[in-house]
Structure formats: C-alpha cells, structure tokens
Amino acid sequence: MKVVALLRKVFLLDLFAGLAVTFRHQTPGAIVTEQYPLERPTLAPRYRGQPKLVKDPLTGEILCNACGACALACPEKLITVESERDPQTKKKVLTGYRFDLSRCMFCGLCEEACPTEALDLTPEYELALYSREGMVFEREQMENGLQRKVYEK
C-alpha cells in the first residue's frame, strides 16, 4: 500500500501517534512519584537493611550465643564477636559485638549463617550518619538500633 504509506508520511501521522502517547500520560492519577520525606515507604520484611541483634520477646535477652558463625561467614570480615565462657553453665556468653557498617555490602550471609536467628537484617534503610566512626556499631547499637533525633518542623 504505497499510497497509504505516502499519505501517512505526508500527514505526519506517526508523529501524532507519539504526541498522543505523551499527552495521555498527563493524568494526575498516572504519577508514580513518592514525595520522600513526607511519605516514607515501608519495605518488604526480607529487605536486607540495618543489622540488629534480636531479643527474645519473653525474656528480653538477646538470642545470640556468641558462636561466631556470622564472623566466619562475612566476606568482608567486618564482624568481631567477643565472648567469654560462663564458669557455671560452661556456655559462651557474648561480651562484645562489633559490626562495621561502612564496609558492609548487605549480602545477608551473616543472617543466613546464624543458627539461632539472632542476627537479623531489618528493613530499616535510613542509615546516613555524620561521621565515619559512627558507622561501627557496638553492641548497644546493634540491640537498640540507631537512636535518631526526630526533627519536627
């Protein structure tokens, strides 16, 4: 259909088709932008975000048994587990836990390796800090999370 193709070319129909597509998208309902600081998304539960030492909801103690499997599993060797043996129960007790968040690639191997499900990468993603030293989490920060100051305008 050479004539039809020629007419399409002369009357710029392909250009009008393109114009129609962009025009259609102008409806306010089509907008997908999320206004971030005002609307904060909640992420999936499996999201690998800020690491946390999980506490047993009944006893309030952390589930970690200081086995050190997470430190062995980490590709970047950024976890340090300090423990001592309790003379009565002969079990390891956690004394210190250091997690260097600045080198973490959030791969989840530590979470996977933990036998007691004590280490959890939570869906918390707002991790920006003002200093690099603050990115090495000690045990309190691992248990309680980052204590952020919430600003109310």
Binding site: L15, G18, H25, A44, R46, Y47, R48, P75, G108, E112
Partner: protein
C-alpha cells in the same frame, strides 16, 4: 587499539604551530564523564569534520579486581560479589556462577528451585532491557521513554525486593538451589507485573518504533554483519540482530529452559534498528517464559544436598548462560580447597565493545552515541 595509550591527544603533538582549523583530522575526547557513555568509558575519536575515521576506547576506570577477590573468598562468600559485575542485571550473574560451581560439584538442583531461578532471571532480563531502552532513546534525544521504562521496571524491582531483600544487588541464588521460597502472593504479583508490562511494550512501539525521526536515526547506523559478529565474538542481541540464530538458552539449555516454549527473535540487517526490534521482542518472549514458569511451578525442595563448607573436587569448568547483554561465561578452576583457585568471567559487554570501532568507522559523530547505546554495555562488566 594502542599499546600504551599513545594515541595522540591533540594536533599540537603531531604538527606544532598549526591550529586545529588547519588540519584535516580532529582528535576529540569523549571523556570518562559523559552523559552518554553508560558509565566511565573514555572514547578517543579521530574525526574528519563530522565523519569518524578511527576510535579508541580507554577502559579500566571501574576495575575493582573482582577476579582477584575471588581467590581470597570461599565459594559461597564470592556469590555476592558477582552481582556487582553487571549491576543492572544482577540475578543472571549469580545464576551463572552458581551453575558453574554446581557443575563442579556435580550436583542436581531441584526442579522447584530451577523454575524459580528461571522466573527471576527472566524478570531480570526484562528489567535490564528496560534500562537499555530508556538510556538508548535518551541518548538519541527522546527524553520520555526513560521514565516510562523505569516506572515499569519499578514493579520488577519490587518483586525482587520482596523475594530476596534487595532491588539491585540481589544475591538471589545459592550454590545448590535457592535459599528462599516464593513469598506469599508471589505468583499473583508476578502475573500482575506481566499483565501490566505487555501493553507498555506496545506503547513503546507507538512512541518510538514508527517515529520517522527514530527510524532515520537508527536504520543503517552501526551495521555489523553476522560474519563480523562471529569473527569478533559478539553475542547476545547484537548477534541475533545480525541474523544469526544463536541463543544459549536454546542451543545449550540450562536450568530447565528446555521445558519452556519460546521463540528467538532475529533481525535482518544488523543495524541499530534491528537490534532495537530484537530486544523489544525478547522482552515479549521473556514474559511468555515467565508466565509458563509461574503456571507450572512444581512443588519440592529448594536446595540440593551440599555440604556447609564447599570443597568442590579439583578441576575446571566453563558454564555459559544467556545474560541480557550476551553470553556470560564463568570459567572456574578449583584445586580442591575451600576457596576458588581462579574465577574468570567472560563479560559480554567487554567483548561486544571491541566491535565499536568497526561499527562507527565512516559514520557521523552523532551516530557514535547511538551505537554505544545499542551495544548495551555496562562498565561494571567491562572493567570488572
């Protein structure tokens, strides 16, 4: 290509005293910081007015020594690093590595895990092609399809986030199978995503394919014949756009791809327009595969029996997969220990990039940008 980058930087070196207006050749640097080089790629162009006489690529700005890192990590610990190679399509990288190590271990992955792997890898192919589409048309000047493509890609990334916990650097698979099972509502969400995306592909066609400006910018630009592709080792949509019917998923099936029915689109002329059409059609075929896999997802275990401390027997293996960019290969050598002896990645973008000079010689400067876009390179893969 030059040995030590002594490609002359300016006419001053060649003929001091002459200004560039006197010479018939102009050397222009499309530096590592450029909106269209898809990463940190430096291209040195030798021009005669508007025509390209020669081209030299300088790469290595993103080299991170990934293959060396592999020698110092255990087999399972290296898995997250391969995501960072082709960071746009991280799932396929993980698939290739896991398949290679499973081949060394001679272990059979359960069917359910294989189907899950196929679903995620094909979703990943869709996402990668959408990034390609958005950035390629952006380089040619149309600013809108980028946003449409990324809006559609957002749905796929949400599926990834809900499945494995990350959108881009997914670390989705483990050696021996999959760690996670499909989450609650996985099948519905994947089906909904597919149903949403199919009319959008038609919309891209309305907006771009028939547009006369697009056709003029891409037809006959960057032609690479089938024989040239085979000689240079170019694979993927570049090869199929030139008319060669070769897809690793059909030729050497892996991870139960032979259970699914799908076509391989091929082009005729080997120019930018044909490669564009091939990739669009690949997106439709990916959706076909995903729908079949989701409908036929079998029950069963997710992981094969692999020891906790992996020590594959000494030997070497080459496993290739059809990544969105081309044939991604892993040549893995084991010496029986807990860490790999050598992992060599065959990066499709790196090998496809070698065809750049052949494709743009004799074309105009404005076509260089179009051709880099059609190559669909990711510098993470080129430099490793």
């Amino acid at each position: 290509m030059t040995q030590n980058n002594k490609f002359y930087e300016s006419v001053e070196e060649v003929a001091p005293g002459r200004t560039f207006l006197d010479s018939s050749e102009l050397v222009i640097n499309m530096g590592p910081q450029h909106p269209s080089t898809h990463g940190v790629l430096r291209v040195i162009l030798k021009l005669d007015g508007e025509k390209v006489l020669g081209l030299d690529c300088v790469i290595g700005y993103l080299h991170r020594g990934v293959e060396k890192i592999a020698e110092n990590r255990t087999w399972a610990q290296f898995n997250p690093y391969v995501d960072r190679l082709d960071y746009v399509a991280a799932v396929s990288n993980g698939l290739g590595y896991c398949l290679a190590v499973e081949k060394l271990l001679a272990v059979e992955v359960p069917k359910r895990a294989q189907y899950l792997r196929v679903i995620l890898t094909e979703l990943n192919r869709l996402a990668s092609h959408q990034v390609w589409l958005g950035t390629h048309v952006l380089d040619i000047g149309a600013v809108t399809p980028l946003f449409y493509a990324f809006r559609d890609r957002e749905l796929i990334l949400e599926v990834f986030e809900k499945y494995c916990g990350a959108r881009l650097t997914t670390h989705a698979f483990r050696i021996g199978g999959c760690r996670w099972d499909a989450y609650e509502g996985f099948a519905e969400e994947v089906r909904k995503t597919c149903d949403f995306i199919v009319p959008k592909i038609a919309e891209y066609g309305e907006l771009i394919t028939g547009n006369r400006i697009w056709v003029e910018r891409t037809k006959g630009v960057g032609v690479l014949s089938g024989d040239d592709c085979k000689a240079l080792g170019v694979t993927g949509p570049m090869l199929r756009g030139a008319g060669v019917r070769w897809d690793v998923r059909k030729a050497q099936p892996y991870s139960s791809y032979d259970d699914f029915e799908f076509d391989i689109p091929i082009g005729a002329a080997g120019d930018t327009f044909d490669r564009y059409m091939v990739r669009l059609e690949e997106m439709r075929q990916s959706i076909r595969i995903i729908r079949q896999a989701v409908d036929g997802l079998p029950e069963g275990p997710l992981m094969a029996k692999v020891p906790k401390m992996l020590k594959p027997p000494a030997g070497e293996v080459y496993q290739n997969i059809e990544a969105p960019k081309g044939e991604l290969g892993y040549y893995v050598v084991s010496d029986g220990g807990p860490q790999p002896y050598r992992v060599r990645v065959r990066p499709p973008s790196f090998i496809n990039l070698q065809a750049l000079e052949k494709m743009v010689k004799g074309q105009l400067v404005a076509d260089v940008v179009a051709v880099i876009g059609t190559l669909d390179i990711v510098l993470g893969e080129v430099d490793r």
